[in-house]
């Protein structure tokens, strides 16, 4: 049961990153890619009908994590209290500025909200990457499984790290570049004309940065937490994960050059999937490692809910997520094709 729920939660996180990832990426690109108001509108319109549905994956995934691994939820959320509150403010600011910039056409305010949307999207991407890196690196856990990380830092990932050190900053950058690229590929599907061409041209430089950062982050991970490789050596077949990362990276560039935007976007989704799955597999069965010298790791066995809770949960989860995936497919197929710049909203 623990194994199943570990991967179900991982799937929900991947679902969130792949889906909300592209609208975060569009948010980042929104800062510099569109050259005029019409292009700005159409890039927003490419995510308009779906962004809050994408964000729902965060809530559903959070809820699933909550009841399947209550100790992890309680420990991580109170331990990362301050950064999570900032994430909340960014999520609120981002959602509202997107909504408002569509409703308020008052010159300066409109521009301000537009920029706020882009900046909040970029900061969120960085935060998510840094958060994952924090989880991989470990936190100073007490015996009862709780901890508290302050915002300040000396940039060193030692026994008492802050939320930002050189390792987690790399994580943040990987996420920023990966999601921006993901967003650019989404735009090549959804927009046309000059904006589409510009989105396609930006893929290559972003790709080169991402490829370099990917390599750096893999090496850094092994330096910070060498036991990440243990599971891979134990089951060598799982070296398919790094192979998948490389193959999907190649796929992005290949399909983008051949002007097959959907396939390029799917490659980018596969890249995100393998990066996250690889991290999860490197951790398993630990959920939140302790830094050297602190208390015991939070492991799956320690954090998991009782068997009846999980059995009941599995029944409705399968039913509910089948429905949910149905809606998602339905909505995306309804809004298939290029985003329409001329058509009215509601």
């Amino acid at each position: 049961m623990g194994f199943i729920w570990f991967w179900l939660v991982a799937v929900m996180i991947v679902g969130y990153v792949v889906l909300d990832g592209f609208d975060l990426g569009v948010g980042v690109l929104h800062l510099f890619l569109p050259q005029n108001e019409a292009e700005r509108q159409v890039s927003l319109r490419s995510i308009g009908p779906v962004w809050d549905g994408n964000e729902v994956w965060l809530l559903a995934g959070g809820g699933t994590l909550y009841f399947a691994f209550p100790l992890l939820y309680a420990s991580a959320f109170s331990g990362f209290y301050l950064p999570l509150m900032i994430v909340l403010w960014l999520l609120i600011g981002r959602g509202i500025s997107l909504e408002l910039s569509n409703h308020l056409d008052i010159g300066v305010w409109h521009t301000l909200l537009d920029r706020l949307f882009g900046i909040a999207s970029a900061l969120l991407a960085i935060f998510y990457g840094a958060a994952l890196a924090n989880v991989i690196r470990g936190v100073p856990l007490q015996a009862d499984g709780f901890f508290f990380l302050p915002l300040w830092t000396n940039w060193m990932p030692g026994a008492n790290p802050g939320i930002l050190d050189w390792y987690t900053v790399i994580g943040g950058l990987v996420a920023l570049v990966a999601l921006t690229l993901h967003g650019a590929l989404w735009l090549t599907i959804k927009v046309s004309g000059e904006l589409e061409a510009r989105a396609r041209r930006i893929v290559r430089p972003l790709w080169m940065v991402l490829a370099a950062l990917t390599v750096v982050s893999l090496i850094a991970t092994m330096a910070v937490r060498p036991q990440t490789l243990d599971n891979y050596y134990r089951y060598p077949v799982t070296f398919i994960v790094p192979v998948g990362v490389i193959a999907s990276l190649v796929g992005i560039l290949f399909f983008n050059r051949k002007a097959q935007p959907v396939r390029a976007f799917l490659s980018s989704s596969v890249y995100l999937f393998f990066m996250l799955a690889g991290a999860c597999w490197g951790l398993y069965p630990t959920l939140l490692p302790a830094t050297a010298g602190s208390g015991p790791d939070i492991t799956l066995d320690r954090a998991i809910s009782g068997p009846h809770t999980l059995a009941v949960g599995l029944a409705w989860w399968i039913f509910g997520m089948t429905l949910a995936v149905g809606y998602v497919v339905f909505v995306y197929s309804r809004f298939r094709g290029k985003a329409d710049a001329t058509e009215g909203g509601h």
Binding site: P49, L59, I92, H103, Y327, V331, E343
Partner: protein
Amino acid sequence: MTAELIHRLHFAFTVTFHYLFPQLTMGLGLLIVVLKTVALRRGNPAWDRAAHFWGRIFGINFVFGVVTGIPMEFEFGTNWAQFSRVSGGVIGQPLAMEGVFSFFLESAFLGLFLYGGSKLSKRMHWFSAVMVWLGSWISGFFIIVTDAWMQHPVAYNVVNGHYEVTSFWGLLLNPWALLQYMHNMTGAVVTGSFVVAAVGAFYLLEGRNQEFGKIFLKVGVVAGLIASIVIIFPTGDLHGKYVAKHQPVAMAAMEGLFHTEKGAPIVLIGQPNPETGRIDNPIVIGNVLSFLIYGTTGAEVQGLDQFPRDQWPGAQPLLYYAYHIMAGLGTWFLLLMFVSAFLLWRGKLYSARWVQWAVLLSFPLPYIANTAGWMTAELGRQPWLIYGLMRTSEGFSHMVSAGNGLFTLLGFMGLYALLGLLFTVLVYREISHGLGAATTTEPVHTAGM
């Protein structure tokens, strides 16, 4: 201030602000379905445009509800970690179900409803409206189930100090949840219908959008009358009796009943004084409370004196006032809607300006009543976090200091003050020029919602 108090204020503040939005979307969702249904059956384009107009207001509310709702889920972990650790296996379940069963449904069909007007058939568009309404009501159900378990824990087992679900249906069909749900949803319909009626009254008083003003006023008053009746009887009555049975100390505190009495009176007006243990400046009607709770005028009602002081709800006067404000406003809703509906029936409502003024000015009152009702439920639960099982003082995050809690609380206050202002401006703009254009698809200077 202690860390416990800060964490309580943190949750109370964020949830109170959040609840301003879903109570309207849940009520309005139903009214939009009514408008769309009439439009479809009678082929009346005016009703379709009315639905379209309220769809825009719904959309704005929905986004504010979503963004202010995300903190709620986080706060269980960030601010109430000790509580989450022991009870996550139970209450995490309905919270996750809310996400899986309701948010996906609601967000998917809201996208279709708001953006798909020209891409969908008329029936499909109607169907989207129904799904959005259903989604919002399913969402409310799971939240009430979560809260009801804290009010009245059922279907659980204690394993290694953690609460585990023993019966899935027992958890979902908690009698407390069903009663609270009916009462709560009716409250949302009251809010929705008062807002719709108030905008109708506003248009009629301003002398523009007359056709829509009449539609809004009619729909709002009819729905408002029904909801105002149902919220008192049977839902309020049943819920009150259940509280009296299972949380008698909360009921005694709500009513300001310090001493156990046979033929207990109901307090209409008066200030409770916990120091002296009596009501100051009271106006009471004898025997009514006994009758309301037990159906006979002579029944004995337990007063606060029956319970040890450390089990009294901490903020007893606040609880008492919240409850009396809720009940008092409920009476006003019934009165106002009864008069309006009577005038509507006699064909005089559209010219009765004083009633229109009363309807217009009453629109904030359901928000106040619902907030007061929520405070009644939650303050009545104190000092328990999970009634009878876990005290509030045992549940907050011990790793998060009062200072950090206060810092983020102030952050939320600042942010929400700004949001409230922006929301008001946005909705006012929608109302002031929402129905001006004569086409269903308005010229687009903006993308999206």
